[in-house]
């Protein structure tokens, strides 16, 4: 039972490049989330999903896209990377009230 896994752990992007952050969970949770954590701050919600095929925007969705084709996977897509997207990205899953987090992906956009 791996819980929530995220890849890659760390990535450097150039401005304008695209990439996909991967997230997978093996707990059969319906709810999945993407958060970002900027230095000195708490986490802010980017997108969430309540089940396969259903996604919705969170507090800071601009510049990102998501898809949820299976219960297990919830990838986050950055289309045109900008320096403001330099952050640590956390994926989480939840059966109901409590959210369980992956180890995070540190992204640097230069």
């Amino acid at each position: 039972n791996a819980g929530v896994t995220q890849t890659p752990k760390f990535r450097i992007l150039k401005i304008g490049q695209s990439m996909t952050l991967q997230c997978a969970q093996d707990m059969n949770h319906n709810y999945m989330y993407w958060y970002r954590q900027d230095p000195g701050m708490g986490l802010k919600l980017i997108y969430y999903s309540v089940g396969a095929g259903i996604t919705d925007k969170g507090e800071v969705p601009n510049g990102y896209n998501v898809s949820r084709s299976t219960t297990e996977d919830f990838p986050l897509r950055l289309e045109l990377a900008a320096p403001s997207q330099t952050s640590v990205y956390f994926c989480a899953s939840s059966p109901s009230e409590t959210q369980y987090f992956g180890p995070g992906t540190r992204l640097l956009v230069l």
Binding site: Y33, G42, Y48, D56, E97
Partner: protein
């Protein structure tokens, strides 16, 4: 807007002593959930404890306990018998309804230093 405030950016405690981290929140909901997460230098977000608002009894998990004051909208975390491994950022979070799902609103965190 629902907000979570952690008024102590940094706290320090000696090993084996007790420390309390403060958290206040603002909500118009009557039924909700509150959480404390620990984030060590590895950046992993680790659930420490959770509290259901409808329960009057304060939650306890081993050396960690909360003081939940619903009327005052206060949710402090007490760490007893502090250990070096408790050193980390601690985040208070409130679960809020959004659209068809839920989100966690986080405070800015309290950095806990544990000294020998």
């Amino acid at each position: 807007a629902q907000t979570v405030t952690q008024s102590q950016p940094e706290m320090s405690v000696q090993e084996a002593e007790t420390v309390t981290l403060s958290c206040t929140y603002d909500t118009s909901e009557s039924d909700y959930y509150l959480f404390w997460y620990k984030q060590p230098p590895s950046r992993q977000m680790i659930l420490v404890i959770r509290q259901e608002a409808y329960k009057q009894q304060n939650a306890t998990e081993n050396r960690f306990s909360v003081n939940f004051q619903k009327a005052a909208k206060s949710f402090s975390l007490k760490i007893s018998d502090s250990q070096l491994g408790d050193a980390a950022m601690y985040f208070c979070a409130y679960r809020t309804s959004i659209g068809s799902g839920y989100a966690l609103n986080f405070g800015k965190g309290t950095s806990l230093l544990v000294t020998p």
